[in-house]
Point group: C2
Chain length 204, copies 2
DNA sequence: GTGCGCTTGTGAAACGAATCACGATGCCCA
DNA sequence: TGGGCATCGTGATTCGTTTCACAAGCGCAC
């Protein structure tokens, strides 16, 4: 499946979930308008799911949700760990959107001894030693990294060693990882700077 | 300048800043390796800056930083506002990475009357009425949106009315905006779901 | 100075993705 | 039962981006 398609599937899922239960069926045209893409693009994307739209009618909304979830590997909840429980890490820990999206935060970890044991959203912050054990015990494959940039590589190496295969990295640091490990970077500064470019060229 | 290039410029800037002051010059090859892209791609990107690499030597690191900053419109600090000071909004407010990246948080705003006046990182949370005034007074063009998804559209409309032209939206909601307004979406669930796809197809 | 090695800048080619355009097909209603 | 309408699925096309490949240029060493 093309990379570009994969990156749109969550968008479609979000759109379908956001529209009321009133609609039992959606056309590619309607979905395209909501999602802000071209309708032929939607149809081509959905065709990769081996989906079964009905000509003249559209797609069955609920069935499509199921297919999207299956394609995205969201049939079971993925256990995830959060490393670095500072400002951002605690915000994520408190976030209520994980479960409905298909994820389950099983633990929060920090290197700062003074934080260990502190309660955050029903969890207690654990040590980095426990992290390694928990990953192996629960067969965790996904990690969210919210340590300072300086510690990110070191922590990432440890995560990879422990068996993590997917990392969502919020630290503004480029991780060197084996290519068996998939990483996505979320960078606030980058996003703002891109906006800044368009803002600046607009007035120029 | 191609969209794809614009989205890489902040990356180059980050790489150049991260490498020590020891290197006075960088070749496209070195930068490409650090940034994880093809070196021809780097050269083509930088050529849009009207840049002046020196054949046989490379690019002057500091000069290149200056050029990147200028291209991105980062010569002055942009004033930005944060709307919705909950878990995520407060984390962002406490973030120390804005200033070095070229941005200046001038105010935090929330609709919840019980929060107004609360101190967060040297600011006091202000009301939505003040938001509109502040935007006009300080000629603010960029806003960070961290309200619940349900309130996002309504708040966005208000921001647009007040003169905001760029929105960084953390709420999992697709905003309908006039095409004079640029928006970038940061969606945690989407990112995790993309990782989930690759995780799932790996084992399948 | 002359030559050699390194690195840029860029046309050309390859690739991937978005869009177009339309035949095929199922549904609904007369 | 058949005709019209809406919509899908998809080949063909266009577009944007990445990569290749190499001539041109600069600096340094001798
Ligand atoms: N706060 C934000 O809004 C924001 C926004 C964008 C990016 N970021 C990035 O996210 C990361 C976290 O930001 P923050 O504001 O939460 O910082 P923070 O300093 O509040 O939190 C970092 C946490 O990581 C822990 N830590 C440090 N070294 C560690 C290690 N080796 N192993 C495990 N834990 C370790 C610290 O004890 C601390 O609790 C930073 O890289 C920052 O640049 C933050
Ligand atoms: N917390 C996270 O880690 C996280 C991660 C990803 C996405 N998000 C998204 O970011 C947004 C904020 O998340 P959060 O966890 O901080 O939520 P939160 O409930 O803690 O904070 C939301 C804040 O917005 C304020 N608010 C509500 N309606 C408003 C309005 N009309 N105008 C102005 N302010 C208003 C609330 O008073 C509250 O302070 C949500 O959309 C959430 O889905 C959060």
């Amino acid at each position: 499946m093309p990379k570009a398609t994969v990156e749109r599937l969550p968008l479609y899922l979000q759109c379908l979930q956001a529209m009321g239960d009133s609609e039992t069926t959606v056309s590619s045209d309607v979905l395209a308008n909501i999602a802000g893409v071209n309708s032929a693009n939607v149809r081509k994307d959905l065709s990769y799911l081996g989906s079964h739209g009905v000509r003249g009618v559209g797609y069955d909304r609920l069935e499509l949700c199921v297919q999207l979830r299956r394609a995205l590997g969201l049939t079971d909840k993925w256990p995830v760990v959060i490393i670095g429980v500072g400002n951002l890490g605690s915000a994520l820990a408190n976030y209520q959107g994980f479960d409905p999206s298909g994820f389950n935060v099983i633990g929060l970890y920090d290197a700062d001894p003074s934080k260990i044991g502190d309660p955050v959203d029903g969890h207690r912050i654990k040590s980095m030693e426990e992290l390694e054990l928990d990953i192996k015990e629960h067969d965790v494959q996904m990690a969210i990294l919210t340590t300072p940039a300086g510690a990110a590589q070191e922590v990432a190496d440890m995560l990879v060693g422990a068996g993590i295969l997917s990392i969502l990295n919020f630290a503004p640091a480029l991780l060197k990882l084996p290519d068996t490990v998939k990483c996505r970077q979320v960078d606030l500064a980058t996003e703002l700077q891109i906006l800044s470019y368009y803002q600046a060229t607009r007035t120029a």
